[in-house]
Point group: C2
């Protein structure tokens, strides 16, 4: 299927309802200039349309005060929209956090003061507890306590176990059923699709209100069910839904696909901003990872929206600590240059795991697509939930929510910490000193290390089958958990090594006894960054998000070393990040902007028609009848046709879209007198006088793109790909010595790229 690129000029003359240079009969026909579902937009046309609109408002604004006010309103509508998106996304994220927290605790017990309190909140409101025992209070009853009246003994344990699994199954069943029944687009993380949409693809309903409602509800359910998934990726989808829905309030954004995508880019930044409490990181995430067209204006606005959202979320205060960030960490010890070695090791681990995860996950998803597995999504979700819950309950590190686990792993052990991971031998520590030296680990630390190792293996395996199921599922938190566990284990190992062998050459000088030289929490953080980097191949945004968590430039270098190593290692094993891999799996037409097109082919090798094919179907500017055109439309499936001066000369005049052509001819047959099958079709500026008895001519210059993009057949494909990416083209015509020779569409390029990479070119499904 060929070209769909409509004319920027046609749009100028048609879409705004101001026909110029043309016959007055050519009034705008409804439907001309819109797109079908699962098609790619033409960025040039959309931007041109918006400039026309802007120009019109500016020129009108000089006429009256009202128009001036209107023009000022129009200029500020973008900012208002950003404010609204920030507020709405922040509020939704706060609601999701609070509900997920409550429902996660519901799996373990209930609050007697009111069932709507979560564990922490329940014990806060109770005044009987001391600071040390905040988690234990009489108002909070585990299910065993409530039902059989005791928390002791194997029976109570089994009771709690059973209730845990049952709640998990109930939540996940609800989640998958709601998704299937009301909004199939609400599943997954949504980021691959959002990337594709931002690059100019249309998936109607993907960012609609039903998706928003269902995704918000099922996200809470899925997270609460204890599945190995996070809410950070889906929050980006939720924020983009907010953005898309709020766009409908403003004509400027409702009617223009390019302008709307600017808003969606900002909304993606908002999503990450509320997910991690990292506004700058969010903006860079949008810039680096998801956006396709990111002008400076959008940068500024995204930043504003991300800040508004972060502050909205903070005023809701879902984490109960007035902190903006999801994981607040404060480290007290500087790191030593030699520690870069373990940090780089963590980077290598992250890279290998990331690449392994992507392969395994894609293989599993492909299996889901092609075998019987795909027919029983509810069953799949229930089985995975059951396995997760059954395996997770006995291990205290998998029983809690993953974000709590990460928080604990990032934490730098203080003297008062009651966590098992902080069970050090404090014999030699003077309580008054502010700095804690490295201490020998207690027994609980070794138990915790065993449990963490098991949790690591379990998380690594279960995440592979979880991501891609028919529930909302993010990947940030599980990846970070894997890395944080690995990092913490390495960190404790290093710490004990330094404590017991402080006379080794490598430790001499900076790890004398009594010095605090190794922070295991920092290792956990570096590990988390490495694994997240390996899976998503984020770089700057990853480091900045992590930087915003700690707030100090001090720890940027370790994070950077790990993120860099991880990306290089992962890239060496497999080029694609998880989102690109999923885009390819789904056959979306996404032209990767990061990768260089490195093959040396020319446009003539890629263009259609190929040498053995029949020649290109073209319209002539004045030689065809309505019937000829209609026959051509029914005989071919191309989305557009070039218009030439004559078949002999093949000199290009313009390009006309199949959709516009069909709509215009149908419209003319219905509304214009005397248009019959033998009427001649003219694309020329002036229609020659017709013989007396012939039917009136049909003038279609108005729907023709007078400025189709052309390149010569000798243009190197890397230049062609560059043009497609930078200008956002849908197709480009190929000429040789001024004669029209063929056409290259976005799909042709993607197929060519797939072929070069030894992949199936037919895996590209859409235009």
């Amino acid at each position: 299927v060929w070209g769909n690129c409509p004319s920027s000029n046609a749009s100028m003359e048609e879409v705004n309802g101001v026909p110029k240079l043309m016959d007055l009969l050519d009034e705008p026909v409804p439907g001309v200039g819109t797109y079908e579902d699962f098609n790619t937009i033409d960025w040039v046309r959309e931007k041109s349309k918006d400039r026309d609109r802007h120009r019109e408002i500016t020129s009108k604004s000089k006429e009256s005060t009202w128009a001036l006010v209107n023009s000022v309103c129009d200029a500020f509508s973008g900012w208002l929209l950003m404010l609204l998106i920030g507020l709405m996304s922040g509020a939704l994220a706060g609601g999701i956090d609070i509900s997920a927290h409550w429902m996660t605790d519901l799996k373990e017990g209930v609050c007697l003061n009111g069932f709507w309190f979560n564990h922490e909140h329940c014990c806060w409101t109770s005044n009987e507890t001391t600071f040390q025992e905040r988690d234990k209070c009489p108002q909070w009853k585990s299910w065993a306590e409530l039902i059989i009246g005791t928390t002791e003994g194997p029976f109570a344990y089994i009771m709690n176990y059973l209730m845990y699994v049952c709640w998990a199954l109930l939540f996940s069943f609800l989640a998958v059923t709601l998704v299937r029944a009301f909004a199939p687009y609400a599943c997954g993380s949504g980021i691959p699709e959002i990337k594709t949409i931002l690059s100019g693809f249309i998936i109607r309903g993907y960012l609609g209100k039903w998706t928003l409602v269902i995704k918000t509800i099922t996200l809470v359910l899925a997270v609460s069910s204890g599945l190995s998934l996070g809410k950070e990726g889906p929050l980006v989808h939720v924020a983009c839904c907010c953005g898309n829905i709020l766009c409908h309030l403003f004509t400027k954004y409702r009617k223009n696909e390019a302008k709307r995508r600017e808003v969606l880019s900002a909304a993606a930044a908002v999503g990450v901003s509320v997910a991690f409490g990292a506004p700058i990181g969010g903006v860079l995430f949008s810039l680096e990872e998801v956006s396709y067209y990111f002008p400076l204006k959008t940068l500024w606005r995204s930043f504003f929206a991300a800040l508004v959202a972060a502050f909205t979320l903070r005023s809701i205060n879902p984490f109960g600590n007035s902190r903006l960030v999801l994981f607040y960490v404060e480290f007290h010890t500087p790191w030593h240059l030699l520690e870069l070695v373990p940090f780089i090791l963590l980077g290598i681990f992250g890279g290998i795991w990331g690449a392994f995860f992507i392969r395994a996950n894609i293989a599993w998803c492909r299996r889901r697509k092609t075998t019987w597995l795909g027919h029983y999504p509810v069953l799949e979700v229930l089985v995975v939930t059951a396995v997760t819950a059954v395996v997770a309950f006995p291990n205290s590190y998998t029983r809690t929510s993953t974000s709590e686990l990460i928080s604990e792993l990032f934490n730098d052990c203080g003297l008062l910490d009651s966590s098992k991971l902080c069970n050090y031998d404090n014999a030699n520590v003077t309580k008054s000193s502010n700095e804690l030296p490295d201490r020998p680990a207690g027994n609980d630390v070794y138990t915790a290390m065993w449990q963490l190792s098991l949790a690591l293996v379990f998380k690594m395996l279960i995440t592979v089958v979880t991501f891609g199921m028919k529930v909302p599922s993010g990947l940030f938190i599980p990846s970070m958990a894997v890395g944080a566990i690995a990092g913490r284990l390495l960190g404790i190992g290093m710490e004990q090594l330094a404590y017991y062998h402080h006379d080794w050459v490598i430790f001499r000088g900076w790890c004398s006894p009594g010095a605090d030289c190794i922070t295991p929490g920092l290792y956990a953080m570096v590990g988390a960054a490495a694994c997240l980097g390996g899976v998503t191949r984020m770089t700057v945004s990853l480091v900045v998000i992590m930087f915003e968590l700690t707030g100090g430039l001090e720890y940027i270098v370790p994070l950077m070393a790990a993120a860099m190593t991880s990306k290089w290692v992962a890239d060496a094993i497999g080029r694609e990040g998880i989102y690109e891999a999923h885009i390819r799996l789904n056959g979306y037409p996404f032209l990767e902007a990061k990768e260089e097109f490195s093959h040396k082919t020319l446009a003539m090798d890629v263009m259609r028609p190929r040498r053995s094919d029949p020649p290109l179907s073209v319209l002539t500017q004045d030689g065809m009848t309505v019937e000829d055109v209609e026959t051509m439309i029914t005989d071919t499936t191309y989305s557009g046709f070039p218009v030439v001066v004559s078949h002999e000369s093949q000199r290009l005049v313009g390009f006309v879209l199949r959709r516009d052509l069909t709509i215009s001819i149908d419209n003319a047959r219905q509304r214009q007198d005397g248009i019959v099958s033998t009427s001649r079709v003219f694309f020329t500026e002036y229609t020659p006088p017709q013989p007396p008895n012939s039917p009136p001519p049909l003038k279609l210059r108005g729907i023709m793109d007078l400025s189709p993009f052309t390149v010569t057949d000798h243009t190197a494909m890397d230049i062609v790909v560059d043009i497609f990416r930078k200008l956002g083209l849908r197709q480009c015509l190929i000429t040789h010595n001024g004669r029209l020779l063929g056409i290259i569409t976005k799909k042709d390029i993607l197929k060519h790229v797939a072929q070069i990479a030894n992949r199936d070119p037919d895996s590209i499904l859409f235009n």
Copy 2:
């Protein structure tokens, strides 16, 4: 002068010395594919060249281990280069800081322990001083003390005054003389030129080693002379020089203008990173303000380089406080929502001042360009220095260096601060409390306010004439100083208002007596951001730089409110920032990427030849002799010529550059047998057999661009401008129905833009 766009294909076949598809006679001719000074590069060709080089290395890497190592080295050379730039720029910035600090103090006195100690360092090494009197120590002698033996009395004051002015004159005289004698490009801030260079312009020597050496030395001199200028802008220039010089170590970057510009973009980020100690802000500055082509790879690398530089600078520790940042601030009080009103007022002030400053400065610079003023640069510098020094000395706020002033203004008054600005009535304050309530101002505060008001007026006026003189001069610090003074004044005013009128409705509830509700230092910071924003129109990068100074997200909202207001207000008064204004003043061919082209014209309205002009000069692919071509070259001044099939058909074959054509013909005449004036020139793929007695033909297909960019005459100019910007073109050919009609160059577009804006189109000087 028309087109200079060389062929991407020609470059493929020629520049790498691998002639393909061509006669073997076409060996690469030295000089083909290079640029002349003050010309615009062709991004498409340069990027294509680099891809070819990369392709070659990749394909070779499979052949031998050595080639593989080579290819890995090539891949990592970018990172190594970044490391080197970071180290070198960090070291240079440290050196500049230390020397400037020393020389600034030299104006006031000298250290007896060793003349190379600055005031602070001199008293540090002395053990006799207490913490409170760090500034006063016997080793440090003011000039009066040294020469006439006393610091008391009017005579000593006059002595000091005189020495201050003399040193200032000496420093500025040295600076301007050195600049004039050795490196005229070392003057100014350099940012306008760097913006132009990054957009693809060539100014040989602008980033050379002489510029680097002289700029570094004269920057120290200029800053020390006490002129109202900063070192932050010139540091960007210094970092870019480092980047450019280090590029010469790597063939990949030395030989490719596009790759080198990627490095320079990163170097600009490094410059800001070392100037403020704000690596993230630096990267965003490069992205937002100076860069033209900023791919994601560059983002990541800039970040790395910026970090390396920041840490290098910190390890040199020029500020003596182990801080990364130039102005370290810590505020203790949150701000109140009502305070947004004064913050927005500061924004309005910043916007108005920014716009006023730009107009006044440009008017002054234009006068310098056109009148006698420009002929006496040394005199001008000396006069301005004398005025500055004479006026500055009596006022303690202008006598110190501007960055110390800003530091003091940003500072939140503690109990121990000895600054006049912190002279509050501490009667009611319990010394033990950590939080300082709002207190009534003492007499010294009122004196300080008077002095600050005078300093404000003086800085506002003198900066206008200072920026643009023939010494290195940055604008960040003077702008920030103006804003900081205004902000601090407003802040103290608000504070006293709140103290004395805490029962007013607006203060009720948050400014009760004894509460610390207003932080004048924060007002100073917001004011600084507002003025800097008004002058440079930076937005995100400005806020992020300021955020990195305080390190807390808390104060981003006030900064953002002020920066936003300031930009809007300034944009309403005059569209251009100071850098764009200077670019335009100098007539550089810079196509602004931020501004939308909003006029509704078509390509045919802008293209040359105009309707009344003689037709386009074209070459035919097989119908011309060497003499014909040479006549055409001498008769015209165009930089390039389209090649057509024949004059009748005007069907486009390719485009050939004047420079390449001249070089090739000269080369052929010298080295190829039998090429005479009557030899026929062929641009075709195959040369037809020549009649027996005719001279051998000259085949020039190799130097022809087989894929020139073309658009139709009906293409809207906004689309054409978009194509030029995004692809980095130099010229584009215009066709109508497949026939060549004309050409549009970057200069034509800039002239057209100037014309629309009612400016002189001939102000665009270069191609």
